[in-house]
């Protein structure tokens, strides 16, 4: 197990580097409203590598690097030229088009090349788990250099991102600075995508910046919040991947999603709490009742229309209170139901044991005869199938219970749902007639 922790050290430092530069660049990206520019630039760079590859240069060669750089410059030029003052075409449209066309072109370009598709995949997928110490060090140098560059010219870059009109008024050459911005951005994104993959880089870029702007309008605090949250996501994501034995990149991305939700709640909660304290609690209560009643009504209708479908709420209720289903089964069925649940649990424990044993046998850590080995495999397969059979039995019995629950549960649930919905409607109409101000959850 220590091995696994050791494996995560280098990726952890790489994640810190990613946090450092991307939380900052994300701020610019959000302010400029060019959310998907990283995907587009990464794809253009990939197209560059592809062309070099087709011309006979290796993927890691200098020629490939410079070709991809040249393509990134081209992308930077396109994006800096496509910024229009009050134009009718949003820049996000241009970015989307650049992304789609360069992705399509790359597919066409490598169609005939051996291992073509895989090469494109490598360039864009990356794998944070396998990043090497040298790569991380290169990242440190590159990000450090670009960070320094941005720090030196921070006033101009920030002014153009935050307030382009003012920058224009001051006589800044916006297109030129935009070009520099996109080039430096392209450098960063191209290298980080190769290491961490598109999804992870996108999360590092956007989520900390968005969370930062939840809490502040000033650049400093936003950046600080972004860095702290990016750090937290890296720590939690990597440890989660270790503890629960999950693919690393995907775990970090989902952690970012969780952090975004939590900070959104943290952002809106105090305001809403103070409103509740100010005596507006009933609004929230009736809002919840309204939402819940709609869900209940729909679920009840679905149960009545299609009792054999999957009813998540009833499944959850079963797990918590098995008596609900048992009440709808005959005595024999009840026995089978309970027996299957028990047998699945036992089979799972048994399977775990057999799989461990199988692993030990394959690695030669445990000696058994060839005949026993065959029997082990057969038992493994057999147990799996039996457990599956039990699950099927359980499913069938559950379906039977559902069919019987169809109207007994469905009609009352529908009536309650409709009643609550009607009541909350009336309540809201009454509140509106009293002249409460309309409220939004997020502002």
């Amino acid at each position: 197990m220590n091995q696994a922790l050791e494996l995560l050290t280098v990726p952890f430092f790489a994640c810190l580097l990613l946090t450092g530069i991307h939380a900052y660049l994300g701020l610019h990206v959000i302010e400029r409203g060019v959310i998907f520019v990283d995907l587009a630039l990464a794809q253009i760079a990939a197209l560059g590598v592809t062309f070099a590859f087709l011309a006979g240069y290796g993927l890691q060669s200098t020629a490939a690097y410079f070709t991809s750089l040249a393509f990134t410059f081209l992308g930077a030029a396109i994006f800096s030229l496509s910024r229009m003052k009050g134009g009718r075409i949003p820049q996000e449209a241009i970015i989307g088009i650049v992304y789609a066309v360069s992705a399509g072109a790359a597919v066409l370009a490598v169609d005939r090349a051996p291992h073509g598709a895989e090469h494109i995949k490598y360039i864009l997928v990356g794998s944070i788990l396998t990043v090497s110490a040298q790569e991380t060090f290169t990242l440190l140098l590159l990000y450090g250099g670009i960070g320094l560059f941005h720090w030196v010219f921070r006033h101009r870059f920030l002014l153009i991102s935050l307030d382009p009109q003012e920058a224009d008024r001051q006589g800044l050459w916006i297109r030129f600075w935009d070009f520099l911005f996109y080039i430096s951005f392209g450098f960063v994104v191209t290298s980080s995508v190769q290491i961490a993959g598109v999804l992870l880089v996108f999360s590092y870029l956007i989520v900390p910046a968005v969370c930062g702007s939840f809490f502040s309008v000033r650049v400093g605090p936003r950046l600080a919040i972004g860095w702290v949250l990016g750090f937290a996501a890296s720590v939690v994501g990597l440890s989660g991947s270790y503890v629960w034995d999950l693919p690393t990149g995907a775990t970090v991305v989902c952690t970012f999603g969780l952090i975004l939700i939590l900070s959104a709640i943290a952002r809106i909660l105090p305001r809403h709490l103070s409103r509740i304290r100010a005596g507006e609690g009933h609004r929230y209560l009736w809002g919840t009742v309204m939402g819940g009643s709609v869900l209940l009504l729909l679920a009840a209708l679905y149960l009545m229309i299609h009792p054999r479908g999957s009813h998540l709420w009833l499944d959850l209720a079963d797990r918590a209170v098995p008596e609900i289903n048992l009440a709808f089964l005959s005595r024999v069925e009840r026995e089978t139901y309970l027996h299957s649940i028990d047998s699945i649990r036992r089979a799972e424990a048994e399977l775990k044991r057999l799989q461990d044993m199988h692993l030990k046998v394959t690695w030669g850590e445990m000696e058994i005869s060839a005949e026993m080995k065959g029997r082990l495999l057969q038992t493994l397969a057999g147990r799996t199938e039996i457990a599956w059979g039990d699950r099927m039995v359980l499913g069938t019995l559950r379906e039977r219970a559902r069919v019987r629950q169809r109207f007994i549960l469905g009609v009352p649930a529908a009536v309650i749902g409709a009643g609550l919905l009607w009541m909350s409607f009336r309540r809201f109409r009454y509140l509106r007639s009293k002249g409460g101000k309309p409220s939004s959850l997020f502002i």
């Binding site: 197990m1 291992h115 598709a117 895989e118 794998s127 090497s132 270790y242 999950l246 693919p247 690393t248």
Partner: protein, 324 residues
């Protein structure tokens, strides 16, 4: 003047068009018509060609240098299938796209159960049939046994037997010739197999880790023991714990070789190699998977020579041939 030119151009165009319409039938004697065969993989193509010789015209849908699981269907595939008389596939769910492909091509005799549909796995002794068939399986695991059976040269015998039957049915006049072709081919395979076994014999029982579970037939024939897989669940990136335990076991048991297909990402295998001192060997699972692999025998020539030189470089001790 201009109208004369126009007339000339029109006449030339009509002449060209006529030629084009009738061109395919020119100069091809009826008796020399080849049997048009479409196979799913280049390995089957090589085997069909070995039996059919110059009497067949074989095309493969997948190429050897790409993962056959994510094939993208192209219009040209459909055109090939529309005109084909025989469709040969690996079967056992190896080609999840085959059903869709046949449906779209709409050539009824190639449909499963039709006279032009050959499932090459029919008489092959399969491995790993103990995998449970029912229920959910993580990633893509084949439910009916491992599908990479062409990687055992001995399986060329049952596969070509069925190909011979199918081709002879389509062209009964050539049956003897096909039979002779097959006998010559199998003779070559047998002699080559003797050579391959001789080369691998000193390394009998060597433990290797493979990327994907695609080498059990190959391993069984050439005396390798595949003790672990880089992918815990096929198609899903491995978790740190899986890689960690693999590193521990590989170091502890002195496993020095990681076998993988050239088309998978080698980032995790490289990491494993770096941590354990093992070597990553890219073996081609298919004809056409690397330069110079033009036919079925060349495939094994390539793989065996790469493997043996990797064993030699990794300093794996040779064993006495009487070992097993």
């Amino acid at each position: 003047m201009q109208s004369l030119l126009l007339k000339l151009v029109t006449k030339a165009a009509i002449l060209l068009l006529t030629c084009w319409i009738f061109w395919p039938s020119w100069g091809i004697p009826e008796t020399g018509k080849k049997i048009r065969v479409v196979t799913t993989t280049p390995d089957l193509k090589a085997l069909v060609e070995a039996v059919g010789g110059d009497r067949v015209d074989v095309e493969s849908v997948a190429t050897g240098d790409k993962d056959p699981h994510d094939l993208e269907i192209r219009p040209s595939h459909l055109v090939k299938l529309k005109g084909a008389e025989l469709f040969v596939r690996i079967g056992l769910d190896h080609e999840p796209w085959a059903g869709r492909l046949l449906q779209r091509a709409g050539n009824a005799r190639l449909f499963p159960g039709g006279e032009g549909h050959l499932d090459a796995s029919r008489d092959v002794p399969l491995l790993e049939t103990e995998v449970p068939r029912a229920g959910r399986t993580p990633g893509h695991i084949h439910g009916f046994g491992n599908t990479h059976y062409w990687l055992d040269p001995a399986n060329a015998r049952p596969i070509t037997a069925n190909i011979l039957k199918a081709l002879s049915r389509l062209s009964p006049g050539d049956a003897d010739r096909f039979g002779q072709n097959r006998a010559t081919f199998l003779d070559r395979v047998d002699r080559a197999l003797e050579r391959w076994l001789r080369e691998t014999a000193p390394y009998h029982g060597t433990r290797v880790v493979s990327y994907h579970n695609s080498w059990p037939y190959f391993a069984k024939r050439f005396g390798l023991e595949v003790v672990g897989f880089v992918e815990a669940n096929p198609g899903v990136p491995p978790s740190p714990a899986h890689i960690g335990s693999l590193i521990e076991r590989m170091s502890h048991h002195q496993v020095k070789i990681i076998v993988m297909e050239p088309y998978f990402s080698d980032s995790v295998p490289r990491l494993l190699a770096e941590k354990t001192g093992a070597a990553v060997v890219k073996l081609s699972p298919s004809v056409g998977g690397a330069e110079g692999i033009a036919d079925y025998i060349a495939l094994f020539d390539y793989d065996i020579s790469r493997l043996v030189s990797a064993f030699r470089e990794a300093g794996i001790p040779k064993r006495q041939e009487s070992g097993r």
